[in-house]
């Protein structure tokens, strides 16, 4: 540092190599973010008068708060569905032969190879009045009139869960792969049943993967503008659409900026809860 070391410490690297990326982030990420913050601290659309009016407006308005709440709730629901459906896939992956493993990984990755728009349109076809689900249920005689699936919260959750599933499954596969299979056997030989082994051994040891998967899925689900608006329609308002409406249709940039900052902070809060849980689970796994 201050004094010139005679021999270089091999465990420390010069910051020089990180400089291009750091500069890139500074110019294209930090600077726009600061501009956003600056804009959000104005009370009028022309950005002439300083003030906290936009934040006050959002935080004292029950409707805006309900939009924020329903968005965060949507993320939680999607994450839960992904976890419940994704965990067995990841678990299965660790217990089958190499050929089946290839097939599973292909199935998991396949959605990532098509665009979100295409996947979302596929869900419109599946959930529609004459879609696959309604047609099947009707031909089986279970229902008479088609169920309303499109433009409902249920539809949005299911579609988002499928679209974001790889983000959950991949970290889980990695985490489960790191668990020593002998631990299972040891647990069984000591008299624990399969469920007990799962809840006492497998689940705690896979927690880092669960938390990484949850963080990724959550962040992706609440910001998924395309899927939310195509499956949810025009009357289900989530934060990304609210933001778009204010910025694009109404040209109210200061309020839109304030919405983004609040949204950003809310997401950071949730993500930091996940990270804290992750840190705690590392202690738990090691114990």
């Amino acid at each position: 540092m201050g004094t010139a070391p005679a021999s270089r410490d091999v465990t420390s690297y010069g910051m020089g190599l990180a400089a291009p990326l750091a500069l890139f982030f500074l110019v294209f990420f930090v600077a726009p973010l600061l501009q956003l913050l600056w804009l959000s601290l104005h009370n009028d659309t022309a950005a002439l008068h300083w003030g906290l009016g936009q934040y006050l407006h959002f935080l004292t308005d029950p409707f805006s708060l309900s939009v924020l709440g329903s968005t965060l709730l949507l993320g939680a629901e999607v994450t839960l569905v992904c976890l419940v459906l994704g965990f067995p896939i990841a678990w299965l992956y660790q217990r089958v032969g190499p050929r089946l493993q290839t097939i599973i990984i292909l199935i998991v990755l396949l959605p990532l190879l098509t665009s979100v728009v295409v996947r979302t349109f596929a869900w419109i076809v599946i959930l529609g009045r004459q879609g696959i689900i309604n047609a099947t249920l009707q031909s089986l005689g279970i229902i008479d009139t088609p169920l309303k699936l499109l433009y409902t919260q249920f539809g949005v959750v299911i579609a988002l869960a499928q679209v974001q599933m790889p983000l959950m499954t991949l970290p889980l596969i990695t985490a489960l792969g790191r668990i020593d299979p002998n631990l299972d056997d040891a647990s069984c030989s000591l008299g624990a049943g399969s469920w007990r082994t799962f809840f006492r051994i497998v689940l705690p040891l896979s927690l880092p993967g669960v938390i990484a998967g949850c963080t990724l899925t959550y962040a992706a689900a609440i910001t998924a503008f395309i899927t939310q608006s195509l499956i949810g329609g025009g009357q289900m308002l989530f934060m990304p659409m609210y933001l778009y409406q204010q910025a694009s249709t109404l040209q109210n940039w200061p309020f839109a900026s304030a919405i983004s900052i609040i949204f950003l902070l809310a997401v950071l809060a949730v993500v930091s809860v996940f990270t804290t849980l992750g840190r705690m689970s590392r202690g738990y796994g090691g114990a």
Partner: protein
Amino acid sequence: MILNRRSLMTTALTLGAMKAFPGLSFAQARPLVFATFTGSWEEAHKAVLVPAFRKANADAAMVLDPMLSVDQIAKVNAAKANPPIDVMLHDPGPALVAIGQDLVEPYPVEKSAYYKELISEAQEPMGPAPFFQVVGLTYNPEAVKTPPTSWADLWKPEFKGRVGITNLNSTLGTGWLVEIAKMRGGSEANVDPAFKAIEELKPNLAAVAANPGALATLFQQGQIDISPGNFNAIQILKARGVPVEFVAPKEGAIAFKTTIHIVKNSPNRELAFKLIEAALTAEVQTTLMNPPYLIVPTNSKVTMGGEIARVLAKDTAELKQKFVFQDWKKINEQRSAWIERFNREIKI
């Protein structure tokens, strides 16, 4: 000449920078840039307007840079002194925003050869309307046997759970709301009756789409059978084999003036004027009126034909009588309050 690593790097970086920021090398001599709308508008303008303009102006260089109205405004706003766009195209709401923010020049009416040929509603001194967009009723003829005739038909009990509308983000959604308000005794200044009417419409509502484009998907999927719709969008669906028909309701079809503007401080002012002139000519408008484009003309010398004559108007006189124009200055004043109210009240 010896190439060392350093000079090679410098050269490479300079070349790279010139590639990445072409503005560095030719700041002034850029071609005319016309920001049309995306999708079918772009196709129509590329196929008809651009060739007509280039033919009349000795192959002058021009590019189409399709984008939404709001993006056009944002881009010009970001560089008012040296705007990256010369000609803008706007729906009535954004047009007033652009004029209000002092982004466009008045159209040189006295210099124009074709401005006076336009029907009076299209003569806008800040930027004339080269075409109209028309909103009427769209329905699926396979499910709806008797064609609807009025906006009020949307409330008929037989359409329970079959009606689609869009929210107010779009020009279409807002224009429709105002029309419903007028039908029930309101106006551009008072849309309370329309909100009450939508409340009564709820049992019939199958979907509130996020944008007019999503309505098209809903027709294709059989999710809805009837909705307000844009004449041009319906023609595109029809051409793809979707069973949809368009009718102008008896209260009048809502007509939006889509206006074309010269951007203030444009370095290509003269060419911009020439492009707009080309867009106003009867020849260009006639070609654009014919299939596959079916764009509603504004030049009174165009003889109406084909689908437009069949469903909309046979001539200018009928057009004036059947089209309803709205006061967007009034609408813009309260639009954000309406959007907020729609967000809160319309839940199905």
